[in-house]
Amino acid sequence: MNNGYDRSRHHGTVVMTTSTLPYMDLFSVFKTKDYSLNFGRAVSMEGEAYFIWRNQIINLMPQTRSLNR
């Protein structure tokens, strides 16, 4: 997967942008049943939550947070 990471710019500033960090729907994450999800990190703040997993920053949109299994 091309994640947009450019090793030549290790010491630069912007290394990734919107186009290389696709937002994913929470459902599609849940469907993967990928054990590497266990190494992701969830960050919550008022009104927002992100799940950082592999090279992706996933915006956990409020409408998908009410998912019940």
Partner: protein
């Protein structure tokens, strides 16, 4: 880069997310730091922290600074640095940390305008402590020590209203942040690092499955 947030991910009062990554596969000698601005969906790499730690003991943010303190470089270090969010410059704090053991990073969380941290402060003392940050003196003060050891299974303590959920998996605690009274709650089994709270529900991973619990059912 296999895992963008391999070392840490924290929320900042400015609404951004600070991320740390260290990947031995790329032979990095230091942690890479990023700031994610969800408003414009942009990830920016920050200057490297001077003490070169790869597993910090404390990482937290205030309105003005991102702090990275202690941890492991080649050896355990006790230096404390803060990154000035306005000037973009790392500043060394005069006071250092005691040697605390770098393996157990403290986990910060905001509560009612204050900044708290939970975890094993010192490897010589197995019990976990709740601390509060004094922004004037820039030191962490002990709030309460809990007769509980081990590391939280989650990236952050789970705070819902005034209830702080400390999820280890097999034994879990709920702490009333108004009184710091603790209560044992439901055994969740072996859980992993992901949780998401929304209203009074939370999600977590367990052996590749995603489960949900309702906090009303935890007691």
């Amino acid at each position: 880069m296999s895992n963008l947030a391999s070392t840490f991910a924290i929320s900042s009062p400015n609404g951004k997310v600070n991320i740390g990554s260290h990947d031995r596969d790329y032979d990095w000698q230091y942690i890479k730091l990023y700031e994610f601005d969800g408003g414009i969906n942009q990830l920016t790499e920050l200057p490297r922290v001077p003490h070169g730690v790869v597993t910090p003991k404390y990482v937290y943010a205030t309105d003005q600074y991102l702090y990275i303190e202690g941890g492991l470089a080649d050896v355990e270090v006790t230096d404390r640095y803060r990154y000035n969010l306005q000037t973009g410059i790392w500043e060394k704090l005069a006071r250092t940390l005691p040697l605390t053991g770098y393996n157990n990073a403290m986990k910060p969380f905001p509560y009612k305008g204050g900044l708290y941290s939970f975890g094993q402060v010192n490897l010589d003392d197995p019990y976990n402590s709740l601390q509060v940050f004094n922004p004037i003196s820039e030191v962490w003060d002990l709030v309460k020590k809990f007769e509980k050891n081990g590391s939280l299974a989650t990236n952050e303590p789970l705070l819902i209203g005034n209830d702080l959920y400390l999820l280890y998996g097999w034994e879990n605690l709920k702490v009333d942040m108004r009184t710091y009274e603790e209560q044992k709650i439901t055994n969740l089994g072996q859980i992993a690092g992901f949780y998401l709270c929304y209203k009074r529900a939370a999600f977590y991973f367990q052996f590749g499955d995603t489960l949900r619990f309702d906090t009303d059912l935890l007691i």
